[in-house]
Subunit: 520 residues, 2 copies
């Protein structure tokens, strides 16, 4: 199809297609982002523009997450964009592991010179300011004012913000110099309570991933090498993309007393003793939109779980003559109004263009359901519903599948069924993603099988016993580009992977299997 | 009271009071922000921390505004934080009038040296990046890709973001180096349509100010000297604070084709000709929280309109003995549950401290309604409702006013009345603010009266005929610290100020009166 498009373009025709996953997975991902108008690169290296269709998905994600944060007792606040450079020296372990590639503000004034705008050299700041790559240091410097006794704890605060990491190789949504995220920063009176919070918020992320994004995840801990700099323990959720690679979709860190110590935040405990506060931090970002795309989309474009779809239903009026138009538009308005009354977001696409081009565009943009309304449908008292996808059946032709997407129920029945249909599609997406993951998951007991899985069979999640050190993990990374994605919690381990065993590389005893995979 | 507090503090007691408006208006404003825990200064010069109680007010403002933006056809998107310096040269008039005091990013990497974190001198950017003070230039560089023909118009996009202006003299909420805002940036096929949009969005702001913030505003145009750099015309809403000063609470600009020209954004119009696009931009910011405080609050702390209150009702259980506690807590939980079922936000304050201290705290934080529940209330089957404020009555003692705030209706009646009571309070705040404004508004026809008003009577809004030039406006500014706040729309002029006349300074003829005032 990519070749067809090049031919079309060469002939001056309009490029209508995108790369297929089989042809070029990376290009397919970028094509969807472009053609579904989700985001694009900007004039500033590595900084993306999130276009309205993509931003609406983010708004829906925010709403769902924010509701869950508030339901677990958190409140939002806002802390400064800038961090004084000296704060990073104070928490050196954090800074040296983390804050290397940062945007640094050094001046505070511009001036005009010979018709150009330049930086005023007289305006150099006494202390450079770092654009936040994450906010632990600045937030804990503030918490010092707010925490005196155990009565002030727990402090359960979240921030929605933009952050900046000067990544050298960027990729829309997955890795950009600036991105949007939320960062929770909580303070507790005991280690147990802080660890519980760390785990609770990972659970919130997992619930959101599975039940809203329809993206199954494995929950667990990071290996020491992948732990957040400054954290005692990092937990994560890992999802599998359609190419078998893992995507770290959210992290939740138990920070111990590290940040409290560097910011000198102590509290008077119930026993009347001064103690350093226990901390957590946790975050998810616009990276999730990349995960959403790569979990569900197909060669026709974006597939969006109904719970996050910017538009649930697009109504396309179809008519040839003017006398048909009035009737069809009236019915389209009525249908849209009835669906909106059910709380659904409905778009009537009455643009003056060929219906086929409209179908193509809304499929590309991932609208879950299309309703076509023509004079014949009105006559028959029925509606033509077209689902964005159906679950694949083995051996089915493309044409047969297309037929299954389309139904013509009586009008009343159709309108009464839409919400149920959207729920069903939401469930099917999760089922399909789980099936995809199962297909690319192996319980592996030898390096030979590991090699075969990643080199010959496309790879995926390998459940292996592992007792290697960081150097040995590096050895596997060099050979197969794999890494330890997570050390799963006991309840995350599938039955066939349970139990003790021996490390696939060293033969050393191992208590339970971990997940190895290539990763984004 | 300030003196009392100093004495208290000197004795090691806890400072419980705030400055009164009569004593020190500026200090009163800062005291409320501190004691109601709305915001505070951070370690970064001029950058504030918005604390949860203040941020919740902002979230409620956002929700109300965002709903109105969407109802008028706008969508949200996100554009980069950074603007290449060369973009400001392209739109020089804009930059030279505007972008002087900016945070400038010049480097992109840190390094560790001798245990300190420093800026890596090797990481200098080829082109400096300006942290956005406003986003016209970067957004229009992107619109160039999105607009080809009249079919792509109008483009109605809004962004919620942080922006940065390196102000030398900062003041919490009113003027800070970093602040939060929304900026609408729309593109249109004609001047008429763009001007209509400019006016529509000013109307949205005025509706929000009056009906949500309970803050009356005058709508009009800015004088040429106060017009946004790069705009053809700037519209504004101006509110009056309790000290008689004006606060510019929102602006909406008709930008003509200025930004389209510098970014070279043309569209094919219906006649098949290439034409530059017509633009608007409009914004409100966290400055509104400052306006909210200064419009409604009193010497007991924050007064918050119920529609923006983070907490609508605080329930304070009152008991002495343990057997009372169980009964009182049970009733408190029930009352809270019944109010929550009505959609209200309710807090039960069961902390182990004196009820009086609780009353004081929640009054300071502006909770509109308090319900005290003790064993006697349960016995009588009534509830004790205490309103945050009542409208002042002339000659009334403080004690009598306090009595009027408190009522003891039967339980069922009390619970059924809460929403109506909150609505009533919302309306009373608007009435009170209007009365306050009327009291400090004068129709003035001579410089002598103008002088008397601003020098002897405390000042306020002066409706005057004005035909002076910028220099003459500067002369008045020097003598009285006043400026032309806005040239009101015809329908904004009160009956007694209507009609033509002569400029109070020059005697030149003037078509209608404008508003002069001191301003924040």
């Amino acid at each position: 199809m990519a070749q067809q498009n090049q031919e079309k373009q060469a002939k001056g025709g309009k490029d209508e297609g995108i790369a297929t996953r089989a042809q070029d997975y990376s290009q397919w991902y970028l094509d969807i982002i472009k053609r579904a108008e989700l985001a694009e690169n900007s004039a500033v290296r590595g900084c993306m523009v999130i276009r309205p269709h993509g931003y609406t998905i983010w708004e829906k994600m925010q709403r769902e997450l924010d509701d869950r944060f508030k339901a677990t007792g958190h409140v939002n606040a806002y802390f400064p964009l800038f961090i004084p450079l000296s704060f990073l020296t104070k928490e050196e372990k954090h800074a040296s592991g983390f804050a290397k590639e940062c945007a640094v503000v050094t001046h505070h004034r511009l001036m005009s010179k010979d018709g150009e705008v330049i930086v005023d050299p007289e305006s150099k700041l006494e202390e450079p300011l770092v654009v936040r790559p994450t906010s632990e240091t600045i937030i804990w410097s503030q918490y010092k004012n707010w925490i005196q006794s155990y009565r002030d704890l727990p402090l359960l605060i979240n921030q929605w913000a933009n952050v900046c990491r000067w990544e050298m190789r960027t990729r829309l949504f997955l890795r950009t110099a600036e991105f949007l995220w939320q960062e929770g920063h909580t303070a507790h009176a005991s280690e147990a309570e802080a660890r519980e919070e760390t785990r609770r918020m990972l659970g919130v992320y997992a619930d959101f991933a599975e039940n809203v994004m329809a993206m199954p995840v494995v929950q667990g801990a990071k290996s020491p090498g992948e732990t957040f700099p400054g954290a005692v323990q990092s937990l994560c959720i890992e999802a599998m993309m359609q190419d078998g690679k893992a995507l770290q979709a959210g992290t939740s860190h138990y920070l111990g007393q590290n940040f409290a110590k560097s910011a000198d935040v102590k509290f008077l405990n119930k026993e009347g003793q001064l103690e350093y506060v226990y901390a957590t931090s946790w975050g998810v970002s616009t990276r999730l939109i990349g995960g959403l795309i790569m979990t569900h989309s197909d060669d026709n474009g974006l597939v969006c779980p109904p719970k996050l779809a910017p538009i649930h239903v697009v109504v396309v009026p179809i008519f040839r003559k003017d006398d048909e138009k009035a009737k069809v538009m009236e019915e389209s308005d009525k249908v849209a109004a009835e669906l909106r009354a059910q709380g659904l977001t409905v778009k009537i696409d009455d643009r003056d263009m060929h219906p086929g081009a409209k179908y193509y565009e809304w499929e590309m943009k991932g609208v879950p359901l299309r309703i076509e309304i023509g004079p014949k449908d009105i006559e028959k008292g029925s509606l033509c519903l077209v689902r964005r996808f159906v679950l694949e059946q083995e051996g089915e032709s493309e044409q047969d599948q297309r037929k299954r997407k389309k139904t013509f129920p009586p009008r009343a029945e159709a309108l009464a069924s839409v919400k149920k249909l959207l729920d069903e599609m939401q469930g099917q997406l999760l089922d399909r993603a789980k099936a995809m993951r199962a297909k690319r998951t192996r319980v592996i007991d030898s390096i030979a099988d590991f090699e075969k899985f990643f080199n010959d069979e496309g790879g995926g999640f390998a459940w292996v016993h592992w007792a290697g050190n960081a150097e040995q993990e590096g050895e596997l990374a060099e050979r197969f580009k794999t890494s330890v994605r997570c050390i799963p919690f006991e309840d995350q381990i599938p039955a066939e992977a349970k139990g003790e065993g021996k490390c696939i590389l060293t033969g050393q005893p191992s208590m339970h299997r971990i997940v190895m995979a290539k990763a984004y």
